[in-house]
Symmetry: D2
Subunit: 340 residues, 4 copies
């Protein structure tokens, strides 16, 4: 039985593995200063229409978040996030461990808006007795699968400019976001509207890796990376993977496929009468099932996360698809759910 | 022309790549809780004759050093290292960034001895006005290629026990150390004599990865890892690689070969009359060459690091071999050096 | 015109100043290891009926909070506080700067309850992906003037014991709390029910100083203090002040007087028809006044903090009394308010 | 018997106490924003001929060092100090606890020179694999009593300018330094030649307090202070003390007197034939005595620190005088030493 637990249950897309194999005995300098990383960075700059952006490659999501946020902030500055934000909940205090407060605000759909950001600012008086919120952290897709529109992101950036804040977008699932039917953002938009954003590889075809795009000059960013143990010795592995994924659009093809399978799941589950409290236009779906149905599916061997209990008899579960999800896995699941 | 710059210029041993390819579409849980990591941990416990040891897999050397040292120490405690120690010099203050002082002492051969450790302790008065040295950091091989003997390591451990210190051995180049002609240590010795040590994969056949062996119970070690961004989402990649390297001794075969090529280099360079200030029985060799010879080699395309200037006309260079170094590269280098 | 801005607008009670003058040329050892600090610590242990408690003297509130919380927590552990908690709002991220997350929960009256604490715990899954809440931070009086009862504190401690949490009570305004008509707690209760609590001097008769009572053995607490710059060279100044305040009950006399003046203010303001959204039985009072009245009082020269706007035309202000507030200041204020 | 243990064994100069008493019931705003601090800051700016300097008042030496160094440095930057430097040895890793490495170099006389600073720089390669030394920390007087000349400080500053380093001078014993016969520095010199320096009050007439002079604009310095618990609630206590000490030169009178008593001690001890390995022109003197003589003095009740053993039979001790040392204490000591 298939695991819908997450989008990093398998390895890498075969083209990525092939790229590693093809170059395996080629010698390069270490630490991401090699031609593979330079080529991938050039590709990303080109796709982003951002010739002056700096591109860094890091191994994982918590790592890139803690290094980036710490690099942008002075020690008395804080980052604003939705209460569901990954940096607030699921990184074991990684941001605080670098010395910075995460100021959270409840968001019904996992997204931040100018009004929500300003409600956080309103709770800070600008004196030395309180932290200074200086960065806004968002993720696209969000932790609950929603996506930002261009207008929403532009409004956030305008809000940030008014208040002197940096805007950082965590794109761990950026592929799913940019290929969502609800999306109208492009990579050039992201480069124009954020001070930093990531293009997540781990959840969309790579063995691992997050590409960080910095549109603001940060000459010592590599010092921050190294100090946090975030420089991969054989950095080229990151460059090779991103080049394989991005040079010809494979990254978006994979994400589109993951989304389509998620929608097939969604539509099939909904057709069986199960509700979805939050509409998700991406590769994470959150239906509510009776607890006994959840148990039956688990007994059959299906794996997924139980997001939260809805009431005594129902649970909201999370189903995640990826580039690697077989169509048959979706069909099997829907058939088995119908039989529950 | 070959680069002798380091032992992580190429990718991974083909068996490692094959293991990744063979299991690519297998689904596993994330974060190193998968069967591949469990199998590799079991292998390591077996090879170490340490059934109760905890084994964690991390991506890189600075990462494993900062997480481990911080996890062992209270905030007012410090780590003792040789002045050449990697944690002191080449990790951009990563240990200090977790809040801990690195107390250094000069060591002629890169190794720490009970006398050197005690000289550091003697400089600390045990009051609350000074840090409390609590851990000894050593590396095997050291940064200058030397290796510890069993007697030396046992003496250090005894010294640590007397003074209530933890002993941590950074084995980024442990393969080269354990297969060195000067070595009489075994993995069970390391497990018995240290509180923690690493088995380095990056420099000996893996794409990346350091296996950390903890012989002291540390129930929350994974919290420390996660907080520092040191948990790989597809953790199985680490387990697979270490299993491939360690299950049948490949790890040591590769290291032995790297050493043998280094000795061939050493003997050839020495035969040409160039001195080696420090005798290195491992895969890093440090000959002293006239500056003009260094320049000629570089013009030919050879790559290597210049360790330090010896005098106005001579430079100590570093030549590093690895499992991937072709025999012909050594022969070519010696022939071309002879022709300088 | 008097300033009701806070309870640290004046210097020290004359008896405290006299104690400093009387002992001025006496030589003592530094850093709080002197007989004055020992005597004060003995007095506190006696008053707390806690012969085994450790007592440390620190200069200020943010300082004692950051040192204590950091000393109790491992790096992946967090502290739970009310959203209004001083450590969460008004210490410029001091706790986060030591690496720890502050997990907050909204509390209508500024107090934490077992239910509120457990709601925070429920949001943490106990895995290494989230911080581990390990300490509960409360203040008595709270930031909005409320006080804990013995039953409430006992329930919190029981909750902490069930969940393996430390309980820390910030007593910056402990004098006002313990002499409040709503209070039934004693110093021995505090010593029995908390793992650590402070007796605030700054806001109740001292020039400065917070006495920290640790009922849990923490042998290296002074190392934590020193590392954070929290050891006063002439530590005896702290011991002398606390001894002067506590040896014969002056501390409680001063607090009782401050409370009584606050109640006179409260009753007088209420008699003029102004509402108090939260009933405060201590030396901080929070009436709601029309904005024009606020402005008139300020024009007259009265000083106070405006806590928050209530609506477009009304503001909640904070009036604080202290041991040093003259009775005439209260009478003048009430008369002038009546004339507004 | 008198204690020559240090220069903070007594309270404050009577004029300082009087200033506190005279203003005791005056109300002021808190946190150092009061007229007393403004007046003292103005006095300091005038004495320093530095009308644009920012002046902050902090409670203690470790506190001001850790706040200042952290405020000047980015996280990957380090501070250079003599191996005997207070920040390196006697602050329990306070600088490292803020995340910064202290790079040390041995100095025969406790002072740094351009050559010593450049030897540290030479050990750093400027890449992201090593910290970037960015500040030079010196103290005047040094930990072993020596003082800087104007030429020496100017040379250091020039060296700092060449290499892009900040120069910070810890003046915990600045009074003793500026009134030393070997000194030719003035406060305006210090303001012109350093980016930051402190005027120590604790060891020269105040109850406590260090005035920090920042000649470089640092608009958020108070945020750094507050985050480290280094803002005194009744900040005026600091302003009042420094104003009392500095407005009419008392500070220098007190220091001159301490020096003169130290020289009387030095000359008397030397006349008895005891050597002084390092010549100290300030209020700390380091004679070498036979161990049995040390023991006899201690039996008589004299207190002092034993700096370090010289050989099996001799110890270097430290004798410290202050503004409060009675002349008779010096005479008694010399007489009793002569009788040993």
């Amino acid at each position: 039985m298939y695991s819908f637990r997450n989008d990093y249950s398998e390895g890498a897309h075969p083209k990525v593995l092939q790229a590693l194999a093809d170059t395996n005995l080629r010698q390069t300098v270490g630490y991401g200063m090699d031609p593979c990383c330079q080529a991938a960075a050039d590709t990303i700059r080109r796709l982003c229409a951002a010739p002056d952006a700096a591109v860094h490659f890091l191994v994982g999501g918590t790592q890139v978040n803690l290094v980036t946020i710490d690099a942008f902030l002075q020690s008395y500055e804080a980052v604003v996030a939705a209460q569901t934000g990954h940096v607030s909940t699921h990184e074991t205090g990684a941001i605080e461990a670098t010395g910075h407060k995460v100021c959270t605000v409840e968001s019904p759909d996992g997204k931040l808006t100018p009004a929500l950001v300003e409600s956080v600012l309103a709770g800070h008086n600008g004196t030395e007795h309180m932290v200074l919120p200086r960065m806004v952290y968002i993720s696209d897709t969000t932790e609950i699968g929603t996506v930002y529109t261009r207008a929403e992101l532009a409004a956030l950036r305008q809000c940030c400019d008014v208040h002197g804040l940096f805007l950082y977008l965590d794109g761990a699932r950026l592929g799913s976001a940019l290929t969502s039917p609800d999306n109208d953002l492009t990579l050039p938009d992201l480069a124009a509207l954020t001070h930093a954003f990531t293009i997540g590889g781990t959840k969309n075809g790579a063995l691992f890796g997050e590409a960080l795009v910095l549109t603001r000059p940060m000459p010592h960013f590599r010092w921050h990376m190294k100090q946090r143990g975030a420089v991969l010795a054989k950095g080229r592995l990151l460059g090779l993977q991103f080049q394989a994924l991005l040079e010809d659009g494979l990254y978006f093809d994979l994400a589109r496929r993951a989304n389509e399978l998620a929608f097939r799941l969604r539509d099939g589950v909904a057709a069986l009468g199960y509700p979805f409290p939050v509409a998700s236009p991406s590769n994470q779906q959150f239906p509510v099932l009776p607890n006994e149905t959840v148990a039956k599916l688990q007994e059959m061997g299906y794996e997924f996360e139980t997001d939260h209990p809805v009431d005594a008899n129902h649970t909201c579960i999370r189903l995640v698809t990826s580039w690697a999800t077989p169509e048959t896995a979706v069909e099997d699941f829907l058939r088995d759910l119908a039989g529950c």
